[in-house]
Amino acid sequence: MAEVTLRALSKSFGATKAVVDMDMTIPDGAFVVLLGPTGAGKTTTLRLIAGLEAPDAGDILIGGRSVRNDTPAQRDVAMVFQQYSLYPHLSVRDNLAFPLRSPILKLGEEEVAARVAKVAEVLQIAHKLDNKATQLSGGEMQRVSIGRALVRSPQIYLMDEPLSSLDAKLRAEMRIELKRIQQDLGATLLYVTHDQTEAMTMATHVGVLDQGRLVQFGTPREIYEDPVSIYVATRLGQPRINTLPVSLFGPAPEGTVTIGLRPEHIAQGSGVETRITRIEHLGDQSRLHLHLDGHDIVTLTDAHTQLKPGDSLAIRPEAPLYFDANGARIRQEIRP
């Protein structure tokens, strides 16, 4: 395993700028999640590191060594594709063994069998080893696909939304399993997703991408609690952060145009009067949809709330985030 560094990395496809001037250091043994909507450059970043695309500018260092001119094979990375690309003409066993039999590794068949057996056990596909790859369910295929990366001990694992095709239950299981495997192996892992739960639960570091730029890089907690912009703030949190004009509530630092209020950062019982439009009972808690001067606000309350739609409720922001006209964060404290 190794540290991976991106230096001023850029890549365009025609007029589309997929990755713009990206600097990022993926520490050795870190689980880094790249978060962003479709088209933010997540997959392109992975492909650049893997060597499937050549950068227009910038450099990639794996373990301190530039790999710009290396072939994908020479870079010693493993990748799980979003499409589970199992070779349909091979059995599950041969699919898992395929990377180990490559001319670069050239392991003995005994070693290959041992490693395949171990990975198959971890991923709970041992009983399917002799099946054809096409005879598996979607979840099994994706596990084999992940297994094909795990049989190797590369410098870095690259995973492109590997769980997106699984059903919710399996996805939750695989999240825990992947995190456990990564910790056991001490593996460096770069993981692409647009699922914030995956980012929050697995990552040691999260990188938020916006139109090919890395806008913030930090621990999930930093990204959640200390976002640099509205864009980053809206990436994490469910329900999403409320973004409201500054005029609705009291004083704010100079230059503030928008305030960001996490649903849990709204105190009830005093402050500005709002009207309840809808209540969602989720079992463990309830979501209140409030209306204030033409703006919708979502907040949380306890599961057995007696509030009804139509009631009015006074609310007061607690530790709001301030943003300027461009959506950038204003960190200044309010002067009393």
Binding site: L52, A73, H89
Partner: protein, 313 residues
């Protein structure tokens, strides 16, 4: 499971459809059956009117196909030792003796060499070209593909005279190499276009995965793309072989001896000792076999269908 179903045809539909298919097959098979049966008739039976459906089978056609014979007088015939085998016996019944083997075996082998040789070459070059066209950025790719296709926009025989002159100048007339090159040139556009379609269907992720797994591009092509293109390669090979095997016009024009294929040779049998239809039919029957066997051997690949299911689209 007798419930009415939208997707499953009813038994009556199946029965009617099956009957129609069998009827159609029987009608289309009549000429083939005719040729097959005629091969086992005696020359008088073969031209009798009304045609004989039931007849006493004879191997005379096959014996005549593979031998040359000379007529002898009854006295000479009587002086000969008893016939050594069934072929000799059949021939002597017609007051003739076997003078030697005919050229059919040789011509047939020419067909095999040229047919399979050009098929192999077309597929080999076609697969590489199709892969390159499918995967790489090539300047003027579309123009090149159109250019390749345009070689089939006129009947190949339209350029017969230039080719005849070129071949004479190059010393390729009546050579195996010349015919293999010619049929490959005609087939290559078909091969490139068909195979490009098949290779386009194979997702790039497979090769990319193989590249990352430590394989070179050629190894990825060989280990990942080729096995999945097997279906396409098999069907393309059948088309190429059928063309090269059946081609008549160029074979008549460019071959006369050493490299003559079976199609121009079979009609010449008629001229040897009268209208020997059974021998012609026997030649046609044997001529049909290789393509039939080749197709049956590759049938598995044709039916297996293109890879599906392992990549989510």
């Amino acid at each position: 499971m007798s419930a009415w179903s939208i997707t499953e045809p009813s038994n009556r539909t199946k029965w009617v459809a099956g009957t129609l298919v069998i009827l159609y097959a029987l009608i289309t098979l009549i000429p083939l059956v005719w040729i097959f049966l005629t091969g086992f008739k005696t020359p008088p039976d073969s031209i009798s009117y009304p045609p004989k459906v039931l007849f006493e089978p004879s191997l005379e056609g096959y014996v005549n196909l593979f031998t040359t014979r000379t007529r002898v007088t009854p006295d000479q015939l009587a002086a000969l030792p008893p016939p050594a085998n069934f072929a000799e016996e059949i021939v002597r019944n017609r007051d003739m003796v076997i003078a030697g083997p005919s050229k059919f075996g040789e011509r047939f082998m020419n067909s095999v060499i040229i047919g399979f040789g050009s098929t192999f070459l077309s597929i080999f070059l076609g697969t590489l070209a199709a892969y390159a066209f499918s995967r790489f950025k090539i300047p003027l790719k579309d123009d090149l593909l159109f250019f390749i296709l345009s070689t089939r926009m006129m009947p190949p025989i339209a350029v017969a005279i230039p080719i005849f002159l070129m071949y004479r100048a190059l010393g390729l007339s009546d050579t195996h190499l010349g015919m293999i090159l010619l049929y490959t040139a005609v087939n290559i556009s078909l091969a490139v276009w068909l195979l490009k379609g098949f290779i386009d269907e194979i997702p790039r992720e497979y090769e990319e995965a193989a590249l990352i797994d430590g394989y070179t591009r050629f190894q990825a092509f060989y280990k990942v793309v080729l096995p999945q293109a097997a279906t396409g390669i098999a069907s393309t090979a059948i088309f190429c072989l059928i063309f090269a095997w059946n081609e008549y016009a160029f074979a008549v024009l460019l071959t006369s001896g050493t490299a003559q294929t079976a199609p121009p040779f079979i009609p010449t049998i008629i001229g040897v000792g009268g209208l020997d239809w059974p021998a012609v039919a026997a030649g046609a029957t044997i001529f049909l076999l290789p393509v039939m066997i080749f197709t049956i051997l590759l049938r598995k690949h044709l039916l297996r269908g293109i890879t599906f299911g392992a990549v989510r689209k």
